[in-house]
Protein backbone atom coordinates (compact mmCIF):
# COMPACT_ATOMS: atom_id res chain seq x y z
CA UNK A 1 0.00 0.00 0.00
CA UNK A 2 1.34 3.40 -0.91
CA UNK A 3 1.51 5.92 1.86
CA UNK A 4 -0.83 8.15 -0.16
CA UNK A 5 -3.53 5.49 0.03
CA UNK A 6 -2.91 5.04 3.72
CA UNK A 7 -3.51 8.71 4.32
CA UNK A 8 -6.61 8.73 2.15
CA UNK A 9 -8.03 5.91 4.23
CA UNK A 10 -7.13 7.69 7.40
CA UNK A 11 -8.78 10.93 6.33
CA UNK A 12 -11.90 8.97 5.47
CA UNK A 13 -11.79 7.19 8.82
CA UNK A 14 -11.34 10.41 10.78
CA UNK A 15 -14.24 12.11 9.03
CA UNK A 16 -16.50 9.07 9.17
CA UNK A 17 -15.87 8.81 12.92
CA UNK A 18 -16.95 12.42 13.37
CA UNK A 19 -20.05 11.81 11.26
CA UNK A 20 -20.78 8.66 13.22
CA UNK A 21 -20.64 10.34 16.61
CA UNK A 22 -22.80 13.25 15.50
CA UNK A 23 -25.35 11.08 13.77
CA UNK A 24 -25.68 8.51 16.55
CA UNK A 25 -25.94 11.14 19.27
CA UNK A 26 -28.97 12.48 17.45
CA UNK A 27 -30.76 9.14 17.24
CA UNK A 28 -33.97 9.22 19.22
CA UNK A 29 -33.77 7.29 22.50
CA UNK A 30 -37.07 5.71 21.54
CA UNK A 31 -35.26 3.89 18.76
CA UNK A 32 -32.15 2.55 20.44
CA UNK A 33 -33.18 -1.07 20.05
CA UNK A 34 -33.88 -0.79 16.30
CA UNK A 35 -30.69 1.26 16.02
CA UNK A 36 -28.73 -1.71 17.32
CA UNK A 37 -30.16 -4.00 14.69
CA UNK A 38 -29.76 -1.41 11.94
CA UNK A 39 -26.07 -0.88 12.65
CA UNK A 40 -25.83 -4.63 12.88
CA UNK A 41 -27.07 -4.86 9.32
CA UNK A 42 -24.79 -2.08 8.15
CA UNK A 43 -21.76 -3.72 9.75
CA UNK A 44 -22.41 -6.63 7.42
CA UNK A 45 -20.65 -4.45 4.86
CA UNK A 46 -17.91 -7.07 5.30
CA UNK A 47 -19.90 -8.73 2.52
CA UNK A 48 -17.94 -6.55 0.11
CA UNK A 49 -14.65 -8.18 1.03
CA UNK A 50 -16.20 -11.62 1.26
CA UNK A 51 -17.71 -11.48 -2.23
CA UNK A 52 -14.37 -10.73 -3.82
CA UNK A 53 -12.65 -13.60 -2.02
CA UNK A 54 -15.45 -16.02 -2.85
CA UNK A 55 -15.66 -14.82 -6.43
CA UNK A 56 -12.05 -14.63 -7.46
CA UNK A 57 -11.69 -18.36 -6.63
CA UNK A 58 -7.93 -18.29 -6.34
CA UNK A 59 -7.49 -21.33 -4.09
CA UNK A 60 -10.00 -23.82 -2.79
CA UNK A 61 -9.34 -22.80 0.79
CA UNK A 62 -9.82 -19.11 0.10
CA UNK A 63 -13.01 -19.80 -1.85
CA UNK A 64 -14.40 -21.84 1.03
CA UNK A 65 -13.52 -19.16 3.56
CA UNK A 66 -14.99 -16.49 1.30
CA UNK A 67 -18.19 -18.44 0.78
CA UNK A 68 -18.70 -18.91 4.52
CA UNK A 69 -18.00 -15.21 5.02
CA UNK A 70 -20.56 -14.24 2.36
CA UNK A 71 -23.16 -16.52 3.96
CA UNK A 72 -22.48 -15.03 7.39
CA UNK A 73 -22.70 -11.47 6.08
CA UNK A 74 -25.85 -12.08 4.07
CA UNK A 75 -27.46 -13.56 7.18
CA UNK A 76 -26.77 -10.30 8.97
CA UNK A 77 -27.97 -8.14 6.12
CA UNK A 78 -31.22 -10.01 5.70
CA UNK A 79 -32.07 -10.47 9.35
CA UNK A 80 -30.79 -7.06 10.39
CA UNK A 81 -32.84 -5.02 7.96
CA UNK A 82 -35.93 -7.20 8.30
CA UNK A 83 -36.06 -7.06 12.07
CA UNK A 84 -35.34 -3.35 12.14
CA UNK A 85 -38.22 -2.72 9.83
CA UNK A 86 -40.42 -5.04 11.83
CA UNK A 87 -39.70 -3.10 15.00
CA UNK A 88 -40.07 0.30 13.39
CA UNK A 89 -43.46 -0.62 12.01
CA UNK A 90 -44.67 -0.86 15.60
CA UNK A 91 -43.95 2.77 16.39
CA UNK A 92 -46.85 5.06 15.73
CA UNK A 93 -48.16 8.35 16.98
CA UNK A 94 -51.25 9.11 18.98
CA UNK A 95 -54.32 8.69 16.80
CA UNK A 96 -52.27 7.50 13.85
CA UNK A 97 -53.40 4.36 12.04
CA UNK A 98 -50.94 1.57 11.47
Amino acid sequence: MHSVDFWSMTFVFMLAAFVGFDVIRNVSRLLHTPLMSLTNAISAIAVVGSIIIAGEQKTTLSTVLGTIAVAASVTNIVSGFLITDRMLKMFHQQGQKR
Binding site: S43, A46, V48, I53, V74, S79, Q93
Partner: protein, 464 residues
Protein backbone atom coordinates in the same frame (compact mmCIF):
# COMPACT_ATOMS: atom_id res chain seq x y z
CA UNK B 1 -14.59 2.76 -16.51
CA UNK B 2 -15.83 -0.12 -14.37
CA UNK B 3 -13.49 1.10 -11.68
CA UNK B 4 -15.28 4.44 -11.72
CA UNK B 5 -18.66 2.77 -11.55
CA UNK B 6 -17.60 0.77 -8.53
CA UNK B 7 -16.16 3.84 -6.85
CA UNK B 8 -19.34 5.79 -7.51
CA UNK B 9 -21.43 2.95 -6.10
CA UNK B 10 -19.29 2.89 -2.97
CA UNK B 11 -19.58 6.64 -2.59
CA UNK B 12 -23.34 6.40 -2.86
CA UNK B 13 -23.38 3.53 -0.39
CA UNK B 14 -21.41 5.56 2.14
CA UNK B 15 -23.77 8.51 1.81
CA UNK B 16 -26.83 6.26 2.04
CA UNK B 17 -25.60 4.63 5.23
CA UNK B 18 -25.15 8.05 6.78
CA UNK B 19 -28.65 9.09 5.75
CA UNK B 20 -29.94 5.80 7.06
CA UNK B 21 -28.66 6.55 10.55
CA UNK B 22 -29.63 10.21 10.38
CA UNK B 23 -33.22 9.28 9.70
CA UNK B 24 -33.25 7.23 12.89
CA UNK B 25 -33.38 10.52 14.73
CA UNK B 26 -37.17 10.40 14.70
CA UNK B 27 -39.75 7.60 14.49
CA UNK B 28 -41.42 9.46 11.62
CA UNK B 29 -38.42 9.17 9.33
CA UNK B 30 -36.97 5.97 10.75
CA UNK B 31 -38.52 3.59 8.25
CA UNK B 32 -37.06 5.70 5.48
CA UNK B 33 -33.75 5.03 7.24
CA UNK B 34 -34.17 1.31 6.64
CA UNK B 35 -34.87 1.93 2.98
CA UNK B 36 -31.70 4.02 2.73
CA UNK B 37 -29.75 1.28 4.49
CA UNK B 38 -31.02 -1.35 2.09
CA UNK B 39 -30.26 0.91 -0.87
CA UNK B 40 -26.76 1.54 0.45
CA UNK B 41 -26.11 -2.15 0.89
CA UNK B 42 -27.45 -2.84 -2.59
CA UNK B 43 -25.15 -0.20 -4.07
CA UNK B 44 -22.17 -1.62 -2.18
CA UNK B 45 -22.89 -5.19 -3.26
CA UNK B 46 -23.66 -4.10 -6.82
CA UNK B 47 -20.43 -2.16 -7.05
CA UNK B 48 -18.52 -5.15 -5.73
CA UNK B 49 -20.05 -7.60 -8.20
CA UNK B 50 -18.61 -5.45 -11.00
CA UNK B 51 -15.07 -6.20 -9.82
CA UNK B 52 -13.23 -7.76 -12.77
CA UNK B 53 -11.38 -10.20 -10.48
CA UNK B 54 -14.59 -12.08 -9.85
CA UNK B 55 -14.45 -15.10 -12.13
CA UNK B 56 -17.44 -17.09 -10.93
CA UNK B 57 -20.63 -16.28 -9.15
CA UNK B 58 -21.71 -19.80 -8.19
CA UNK B 59 -20.28 -19.80 -4.67
CA UNK B 60 -21.53 -16.32 -4.03
CA UNK B 61 -25.01 -17.37 -5.12
CA UNK B 62 -24.97 -20.43 -2.90
CA UNK B 63 -23.81 -18.35 0.04
CA UNK B 64 -26.55 -15.79 -0.57
CA UNK B 65 -29.16 -18.53 -0.54
CA UNK B 66 -27.79 -19.98 2.70
CA UNK B 67 -27.53 -16.55 4.30
CA UNK B 68 -31.09 -15.67 3.37
CA UNK B 69 -32.33 -19.01 4.63
CA UNK B 70 -30.78 -18.36 8.03
CA UNK B 71 -31.46 -14.64 8.05
CA UNK B 72 -35.20 -14.66 7.50
CA UNK B 73 -36.12 -16.85 10.49
CA UNK B 74 -33.57 -14.98 12.58
CA UNK B 75 -35.52 -11.81 11.92
CA UNK B 76 -38.74 -13.32 13.20
CA UNK B 77 -37.66 -13.96 16.80
CA UNK B 78 -39.78 -12.68 19.67
CA UNK B 79 -38.95 -9.19 20.81
CA UNK B 80 -37.68 -10.52 24.12
CA UNK B 81 -35.04 -12.46 22.20
CA UNK B 82 -33.76 -9.41 20.36
CA UNK B 83 -30.62 -9.06 22.51
CA UNK B 84 -29.64 -12.67 21.79
CA UNK B 85 -30.33 -12.20 18.10
CA UNK B 86 -28.14 -9.11 18.02
CA UNK B 87 -25.36 -11.01 19.75
CA UNK B 88 -25.57 -13.91 17.30
CA UNK B 89 -25.51 -11.44 14.46
CA UNK B 90 -22.37 -9.85 15.83
CA UNK B 91 -20.85 -13.31 15.94
CA UNK B 92 -21.56 -13.74 12.23
CA UNK B 93 -20.10 -10.31 11.51
CA UNK B 94 -16.95 -11.09 13.45
CA UNK B 95 -16.62 -14.43 11.73
CA UNK B 96 -16.87 -12.86 8.29
CA UNK B 97 -14.22 -10.29 9.12
CA UNK B 98 -11.90 -12.91 10.58
CA UNK B 99 -12.30 -15.22 7.59
CA UNK B 100 -11.68 -12.51 5.04
CA UNK B 101 -8.52 -11.53 6.91
CA UNK B 102 -7.40 -15.14 6.97
CA UNK B 103 -8.11 -15.60 3.27
CA UNK B 104 -6.20 -12.46 2.41
CA UNK B 105 -3.21 -13.73 4.41
CA UNK B 106 -3.32 -17.07 2.64
CA UNK B 107 -3.55 -15.42 -0.77
CA UNK B 108 -0.94 -12.75 -0.26
CA UNK B 109 1.64 -14.89 1.52
CA UNK B 110 2.84 -16.82 -1.58
CA UNK B 111 2.52 -13.70 -3.74
CA UNK B 112 4.90 -11.78 -1.46
CA UNK B 113 2.31 -9.01 -1.20
CA UNK B 114 2.34 -8.80 2.59
CA UNK B 115 3.85 -5.41 3.38
CA UNK B 116 4.28 -4.63 7.03
CA UNK B 117 1.32 -2.31 6.94
CA UNK B 118 -0.98 -4.83 5.33
CA UNK B 119 0.11 -7.51 7.76
CA UNK B 120 -0.60 -5.19 10.68
CA UNK B 121 -4.07 -4.40 9.38
CA UNK B 122 -4.80 -8.09 8.74
CA UNK B 123 -3.65 -9.03 12.25
CA UNK B 124 -5.93 -6.41 13.75
CA UNK B 125 -8.83 -7.52 11.59
CA UNK B 126 -8.35 -11.17 12.53
CA UNK B 127 -7.92 -10.40 16.22
CA UNK B 128 -11.02 -8.20 16.40
CA UNK B 129 -13.04 -10.44 14.13
CA UNK B 130 -12.46 -13.71 15.94
CA UNK B 131 -12.72 -12.28 19.45
CA UNK B 132 -16.03 -10.71 18.45
CA UNK B 133 -17.07 -14.09 17.10
CA UNK B 134 -16.59 -16.14 20.26
CA UNK B 135 -17.35 -13.25 22.60
CA UNK B 136 -20.71 -12.67 20.92
CA UNK B 137 -21.55 -16.36 20.96
CA UNK B 138 -20.84 -16.46 24.69
CA UNK B 139 -22.94 -13.36 25.23
CA UNK B 140 -25.81 -14.87 23.26
CA UNK B 141 -25.48 -18.05 25.32
CA UNK B 142 -25.66 -16.15 28.59
CA UNK B 143 -28.65 -14.14 27.43
CA UNK B 144 -30.44 -17.27 26.27
CA UNK B 145 -29.38 -18.87 29.56
CA UNK B 146 -27.81 -21.78 27.71
CA UNK B 147 -24.61 -20.87 29.53
CA UNK B 148 -24.75 -20.04 33.26
CA UNK B 149 -25.45 -16.33 33.50
CA UNK B 150 -23.66 -15.70 36.76
CA UNK B 151 -20.16 -14.26 36.43
CA UNK B 152 -17.46 -16.89 36.79
CA UNK B 153 -14.46 -15.39 38.49
CA UNK B 154 -11.23 -16.76 39.85
CA UNK B 155 -8.09 -15.30 41.25
CA UNK B 156 -5.69 -13.81 38.71
CA UNK B 157 -8.35 -13.80 36.02
CA UNK B 158 -7.58 -10.31 34.75
CA UNK B 159 -3.87 -11.10 34.63
CA UNK B 160 -4.50 -14.23 32.59
CA UNK B 161 -6.85 -12.43 30.18
CA UNK B 162 -4.53 -9.51 29.64
CA UNK B 163 -1.61 -11.93 29.27
CA UNK B 164 -3.47 -13.79 26.55
CA UNK B 165 -4.24 -10.56 24.73
CA UNK B 166 -0.60 -9.57 25.07
CA UNK B 167 0.59 -12.84 23.49
CA UNK B 168 -1.92 -12.37 20.65
CA UNK B 169 -0.56 -8.89 20.04
CA UNK B 170 2.99 -10.25 20.09
CA UNK B 171 2.00 -12.77 17.41
CA UNK B 172 0.68 -9.88 15.34
CA UNK B 173 3.91 -7.95 15.80
CA UNK B 174 5.93 -11.03 14.89
CA UNK B 175 3.92 -11.38 11.69
CA UNK B 176 4.41 -7.72 10.82
CA UNK B 177 8.16 -8.14 11.22
CA UNK B 178 8.22 -11.34 9.18
CA UNK B 179 4.96 -12.42 7.55
CA UNK B 180 6.48 -15.73 6.45
CA UNK B 181 6.46 -17.00 10.05
CA UNK B 182 3.17 -18.55 9.09
CA UNK B 183 2.77 -20.69 12.25
CA UNK B 184 2.12 -17.45 14.13
CA UNK B 185 -1.07 -16.94 12.17
CA UNK B 186 -3.10 -19.93 13.44
CA UNK B 187 -1.73 -19.12 16.89
CA UNK B 188 -3.13 -15.61 16.54
CA UNK B 189 -6.50 -17.00 15.48
CA UNK B 190 -6.59 -19.45 18.37
CA UNK B 191 -5.66 -16.82 20.91
CA UNK B 192 -8.29 -14.42 19.57
CA UNK B 193 -10.98 -17.08 19.80
CA UNK B 194 -9.93 -17.97 23.34
CA UNK B 195 -9.71 -14.36 24.42
CA UNK B 196 -13.29 -13.76 23.25
CA UNK B 197 -14.51 -16.56 25.50
CA UNK B 198 -12.46 -15.61 28.55
CA UNK B 199 -13.46 -11.96 28.22
CA UNK B 200 -17.13 -12.78 28.69
CA UNK B 201 -16.89 -15.47 31.38
CA UNK B 202 -16.46 -13.10 34.34
CA UNK B 203 -19.29 -10.80 33.22
CA UNK B 204 -22.76 -11.38 34.61
CA UNK B 205 -25.64 -12.13 32.25
CA UNK B 206 -27.31 -8.88 33.13
CA UNK B 207 -24.33 -6.87 31.93
CA UNK B 208 -24.56 -8.47 28.52
CA UNK B 209 -26.32 -5.51 26.83
CA UNK B 210 -23.37 -3.25 27.52
CA UNK B 211 -21.02 -5.97 26.38
CA UNK B 212 -23.01 -6.53 23.20
CA UNK B 213 -22.80 -2.87 22.43
CA UNK B 214 -19.07 -2.93 22.93
CA UNK B 215 -18.81 -5.97 20.67
CA UNK B 216 -20.79 -4.03 18.08
CA UNK B 217 -18.10 -1.42 18.30
CA UNK B 218 -15.38 -4.05 17.85
CA UNK B 219 -17.18 -5.50 14.83
CA UNK B 220 -17.20 -2.01 13.35
CA UNK B 221 -13.48 -1.62 13.97
CA UNK B 222 -12.85 -5.01 12.36
CA UNK B 223 -14.64 -3.70 9.26
CA UNK B 224 -12.44 -0.60 9.36
CA UNK B 225 -9.34 -2.79 9.51
CA UNK B 226 -10.70 -4.80 6.57
CA UNK B 227 -11.14 -1.50 4.74
CA UNK B 228 -7.47 -0.71 5.23
CA UNK B 229 -6.52 -4.22 4.07
CA UNK B 230 -8.66 -4.06 0.94
CA UNK B 231 -8.17 -0.31 0.43
CA UNK B 232 -11.90 0.06 0.37
CA UNK B 233 -13.41 3.27 1.70
CA UNK B 234 -17.00 2.14 2.06
CA UNK B 235 -15.83 -0.47 4.55
CA UNK B 236 -14.11 2.25 6.52
CA UNK B 237 -17.19 4.47 6.55
CA UNK B 238 -19.63 1.73 7.53
CA UNK B 239 -17.18 0.38 10.09
CA UNK B 240 -16.65 3.80 11.64
CA UNK B 241 -20.41 4.38 11.85
CA UNK B 242 -20.86 1.07 13.66
CA UNK B 243 -17.90 1.64 15.89
CA UNK B 244 -19.34 5.00 16.93
CA UNK B 245 -22.80 3.57 17.44
CA UNK B 246 -21.64 0.72 19.68
CA UNK B 247 -19.41 2.98 21.69
CA UNK B 248 -22.07 5.63 22.24
CA UNK B 249 -24.73 3.13 23.25
CA UNK B 250 -22.44 1.48 25.77
CA UNK B 251 -21.43 4.87 27.14
CA UNK B 252 -25.11 5.80 27.51
CA UNK B 253 -25.79 2.56 29.35
CA UNK B 254 -22.78 2.96 31.64
CA UNK B 255 -23.75 6.53 32.41
CA UNK B 256 -27.35 5.70 33.11
CA UNK B 257 -26.14 2.99 35.50
CA UNK B 258 -23.52 5.37 36.92
CA UNK B 259 -20.79 2.81 36.29
CA UNK B 260 -17.51 2.88 34.42
CA UNK B 261 -16.47 0.69 31.51
CA UNK B 262 -13.87 -1.09 33.57
CA UNK B 263 -16.46 -1.78 36.24
CA UNK B 264 -18.66 -3.48 33.64
CA UNK B 265 -15.79 -5.43 32.09
CA UNK B 266 -13.91 -6.43 35.23
CA UNK B 267 -16.32 -5.73 38.04
CA UNK B 268 -18.43 -8.91 38.01
CA UNK B 269 -21.39 -6.79 39.02
CA UNK B 270 -24.13 -9.15 37.98
CA UNK B 271 -23.92 -11.18 41.19
CA UNK B 272 -26.67 -10.77 43.70
CA UNK B 273 -24.79 -9.20 46.59
CA UNK B 274 -25.90 -10.68 49.85
CA UNK B 275 -29.30 -11.50 48.46
CA UNK B 276 -32.68 -11.12 50.05
CA UNK B 277 -31.98 -13.74 52.76
CA UNK B 278 -29.48 -11.42 54.41
CA UNK B 279 -31.80 -8.46 54.54
CA UNK B 280 -32.56 -7.85 58.19
CA UNK B 281 -35.77 -6.48 59.63
CA UNK B 282 -37.51 -4.92 56.71
CA UNK B 283 -40.16 -2.31 57.37
CA UNK B 284 -43.66 -3.67 56.81
CA UNK B 285 -45.19 -3.14 53.37
CA UNK B 286 -48.75 -2.23 52.54
CA UNK B 287 -50.26 -4.48 49.98
CA UNK B 288 -53.26 -3.81 47.77
CA UNK B 289 -55.62 -5.79 45.56
CA UNK B 290 -56.41 -5.10 41.94
CA UNK B 291 -59.78 -3.78 43.10
CA UNK B 292 -58.11 -1.27 45.45
CA UNK B 293 -55.86 -0.13 42.66
CA UNK B 294 -58.75 0.30 40.25
CA UNK B 295 -60.59 2.46 42.77
CA UNK B 296 -57.53 4.61 43.32
CA UNK B 297 -57.06 5.06 39.59
CA UNK B 298 -60.65 6.11 39.05
CA UNK B 299 -60.11 9.08 41.32
CA UNK B 300 -56.84 10.14 39.68
CA UNK B 301 -56.42 12.94 37.20
CA UNK B 302 -52.90 12.14 36.15
CA UNK B 303 -51.26 8.70 36.07
CA UNK B 304 -47.75 7.62 35.13
CA UNK B 305 -46.82 4.03 34.34
CA UNK B 306 -43.16 3.10 34.92
CA UNK B 307 -42.29 -0.14 33.13
CA UNK B 308 -39.18 -2.17 33.90
CA UNK B 309 -37.58 -5.49 33.20
CA UNK B 310 -40.44 -7.38 34.87
CA UNK B 311 -42.86 -6.07 32.24
CA UNK B 312 -40.67 -7.60 29.57
CA UNK B 313 -40.31 -10.92 31.41
CA UNK B 314 -44.04 -11.17 31.97
CA UNK B 315 -44.83 -10.00 28.41
CA UNK B 316 -47.25 -7.60 30.06
CA UNK B 317 -47.00 -4.85 27.48
CA UNK B 318 -50.43 -5.57 26.01
CA UNK B 319 -52.04 -5.37 29.45
CA UNK B 320 -50.22 -2.11 30.02
CA UNK B 321 -51.69 -0.78 26.81
CA UNK B 322 -55.18 -1.83 27.86
CA UNK B 323 -54.70 -0.02 31.14
CA UNK B 324 -53.50 3.05 29.25
CA UNK B 325 -56.57 2.88 27.04
CA UNK B 326 -58.97 2.45 29.94
CA UNK B 327 -57.51 5.46 31.70
CA UNK B 328 -57.35 7.65 28.61
CA UNK B 329 -60.95 6.83 27.79
CA UNK B 330 -61.99 8.15 31.19
CA UNK B 331 -60.19 11.42 30.53
CA UNK B 332 -57.38 10.55 32.92
CA UNK B 333 -54.05 11.69 31.55
CA UNK B 334 -51.83 8.65 31.33
CA UNK B 335 -48.20 8.56 30.26
CA UNK B 336 -45.34 6.08 30.37
CA UNK B 337 -42.10 7.13 32.02
CA UNK B 338 -39.15 5.48 30.31
CA UNK B 339 -35.82 5.18 32.09
CA UNK B 340 -32.86 4.91 29.70
CA UNK B 341 -31.75 1.56 31.15
CA UNK B 342 -35.10 0.10 32.10
CA UNK B 343 -35.16 -3.48 30.93
CA UNK B 344 -32.10 -5.19 29.58
CA UNK B 345 -31.16 -3.30 26.45
CA UNK B 346 -31.28 0.35 25.38
CA UNK B 347 -34.74 1.25 24.16
CA UNK B 348 -36.15 -2.07 25.41
CA UNK B 349 -39.35 -0.61 26.88
CA UNK B 350 -40.02 1.53 23.84
CA UNK B 351 -40.12 -1.37 21.38
CA UNK B 352 -42.17 -3.53 23.72
CA UNK B 353 -44.77 -0.85 24.26
CA UNK B 354 -44.77 0.15 20.61
CA UNK B 355 -45.44 -3.49 19.82
CA UNK B 356 -48.48 -3.31 22.08
CA UNK B 357 -49.76 -0.31 20.14
CA UNK B 358 -48.88 2.43 22.62
CA UNK B 359 -48.34 5.62 20.61
CA UNK B 360 -44.78 6.88 20.95
CA UNK B 361 -45.87 10.32 22.09
CA UNK B 362 -47.13 8.67 25.27
CA UNK B 363 -43.59 7.43 26.01
CA UNK B 364 -41.78 10.15 27.92
CA UNK B 365 -38.08 10.12 28.73
CA UNK B 366 -36.92 10.28 32.33
CA UNK B 367 -35.50 13.79 32.10
CA UNK B 368 -38.70 15.13 30.61
CA UNK B 369 -41.10 13.53 33.07
CA UNK B 370 -39.21 13.95 36.34
CA UNK B 371 -40.10 17.63 36.78
CA UNK B 372 -43.83 16.79 36.39
CA UNK B 373 -43.99 13.95 38.89
CA UNK B 374 -45.01 16.17 41.81
CA UNK B 375 -48.35 16.71 40.08
CA UNK B 376 -48.97 13.05 39.38
CA UNK B 377 -51.67 11.34 41.43
CA UNK B 378 -50.76 7.71 40.88
CA UNK B 379 -47.55 6.13 39.61
CA UNK B 380 -47.79 2.47 38.64
CA UNK B 381 -44.39 0.77 38.72
CA UNK B 382 -44.58 -2.43 36.68
CA UNK B 383 -41.67 -4.79 37.19
CA UNK B 384 -39.21 -1.95 37.59
CA UNK B 385 -36.97 -1.79 40.58
CA UNK B 386 -33.52 -0.25 40.36
CA UNK B 387 -34.64 2.53 38.05
CA UNK B 388 -37.02 3.84 40.74
CA UNK B 389 -34.85 3.20 43.81
CA UNK B 390 -34.53 6.48 45.77
CA UNK B 391 -31.33 5.19 47.38
CA UNK B 392 -29.61 6.21 44.15
CA UNK B 393 -30.31 9.80 45.13
CA UNK B 394 -29.24 9.90 48.76
CA UNK B 395 -27.54 6.72 49.97
CA UNK B 396 -23.84 7.20 49.27
CA UNK B 397 -23.07 3.62 50.26
CA UNK B 398 -25.48 2.15 47.71
CA UNK B 399 -23.91 0.51 44.65
CA UNK B 400 -26.29 2.49 42.47
CA UNK B 401 -25.63 5.81 44.20
CA UNK B 402 -25.54 8.59 41.62
CA UNK B 403 -27.51 6.71 38.98
CA UNK B 404 -30.28 8.99 37.72
CA UNK B 405 -33.71 7.53 38.55
CA UNK B 406 -37.37 8.21 37.88
CA UNK B 407 -38.54 10.02 40.98
CA UNK B 408 -41.83 8.18 41.47
CA UNK B 409 -41.52 8.66 45.23
CA UNK B 410 -42.56 12.26 44.58
CA UNK B 411 -45.93 11.16 43.22
CA UNK B 412 -48.92 11.27 45.54
CA UNK B 413 -49.42 7.50 45.52
CA UNK B 414 -47.17 4.76 44.18
CA UNK B 415 -48.39 1.32 43.19
CA UNK B 416 -45.53 -1.13 42.79
CA UNK B 417 -46.13 -4.39 40.99
CA UNK B 418 -43.68 -7.27 41.32
CA UNK B 419 -43.92 -10.90 42.31
CA UNK B 420 -41.93 -10.95 45.54
CA UNK B 421 -39.80 -8.68 47.69
CA UNK B 422 -36.70 -9.92 45.88
CA UNK B 423 -34.29 -7.30 44.62
CA UNK B 424 -33.73 -6.45 40.96
CA UNK B 425 -30.68 -6.40 38.75
CA UNK B 426 -28.43 -4.55 41.18
CA UNK B 427 -29.32 -6.93 43.99
CA UNK B 428 -30.25 -4.31 46.55
CA UNK B 429 -33.32 -3.50 48.61
CA UNK B 430 -35.61 -0.71 47.59
CA UNK B 431 -36.98 1.60 50.25
CA UNK B 432 -39.66 2.75 47.85
CA UNK B 433 -41.68 -0.36 48.65
CA UNK B 434 -41.86 0.45 52.34
CA UNK B 435 -42.60 4.15 51.88
CA UNK B 436 -45.83 5.51 53.35
CA UNK B 437 -47.37 6.40 50.03
CA UNK B 438 -46.55 3.07 48.35
CA UNK B 439 -48.92 0.16 47.90
CA UNK B 440 -47.56 -3.17 46.68
CA UNK B 441 -49.52 -5.10 44.08
CA UNK B 442 -47.93 -8.54 44.22
CA UNK B 443 -48.08 -10.96 41.32
CA UNK B 444 -46.94 -11.54 37.79
CA UNK B 445 -47.20 -8.28 35.87
CA UNK B 446 -49.38 -9.69 33.11
CA UNK B 447 -51.89 -11.19 35.52
CA UNK B 448 -51.86 -8.26 37.92
CA UNK B 449 -52.35 -5.58 35.27
CA UNK B 450 -54.99 -7.76 33.67
CA UNK B 451 -56.89 -7.84 36.94
CA UNK B 452 -56.67 -4.09 37.33
CA UNK B 453 -57.97 -3.57 33.81
CA UNK B 454 -60.81 -5.99 34.47
CA UNK B 455 -61.72 -4.27 37.71
CA UNK B 456 -61.66 -0.90 35.98
CA UNK B 457 -63.76 -1.88 32.99
CA UNK B 458 -66.08 -4.09 34.99
CA UNK B 459 -66.98 -1.32 37.36
CA UNK B 460 -67.83 1.39 34.95
CA UNK B 461 -68.69 -0.52 31.83
CA UNK B 462 -67.66 2.58 29.90
CA UNK B 463 -65.75 0.55 27.35
CA UNK B 464 -68.66 -1.71 26.54
Amino acid sequence: MIENLTAAAYLAAGALFIFSLRWMSHPKTARRGVVAGVAGMTAAVGGTLLHPEIVGFEWIAIAVVIGTAIGVPLSRVALTAVPQRTAISHAFGGLAAGLVGTAKYILWLPEGELTGFRMGAISLEVLLGFLTFTGSLMAAGKLQEVIPTRPITYRGQNVINLGLLGVALLCGIGLVLDPTQWFLFPLLIGLSLAFGVLLIIPIGGADMPTVISLLNSYAGLAAVAMGYVLENKVLIIAGALDGASGLILSIIMCRAMNRSFSNVLFGAFGQVQGGPADAVERKPVKSATAQDVAELLELAREVVIVPGYGLAVAQAQHRAFELYEQLTKRGIRCRFAIHPVAGRMPGHMNVLLAEANVPYDALVEMDDINPDLGQVDVAIVVGANDVVNPAARHDKSSPIYGMPIIDVDKCKTVIANKRTMNPGFAGIDNELYTADNTLMLFGDAKAALGDVVKALSGESGLGH
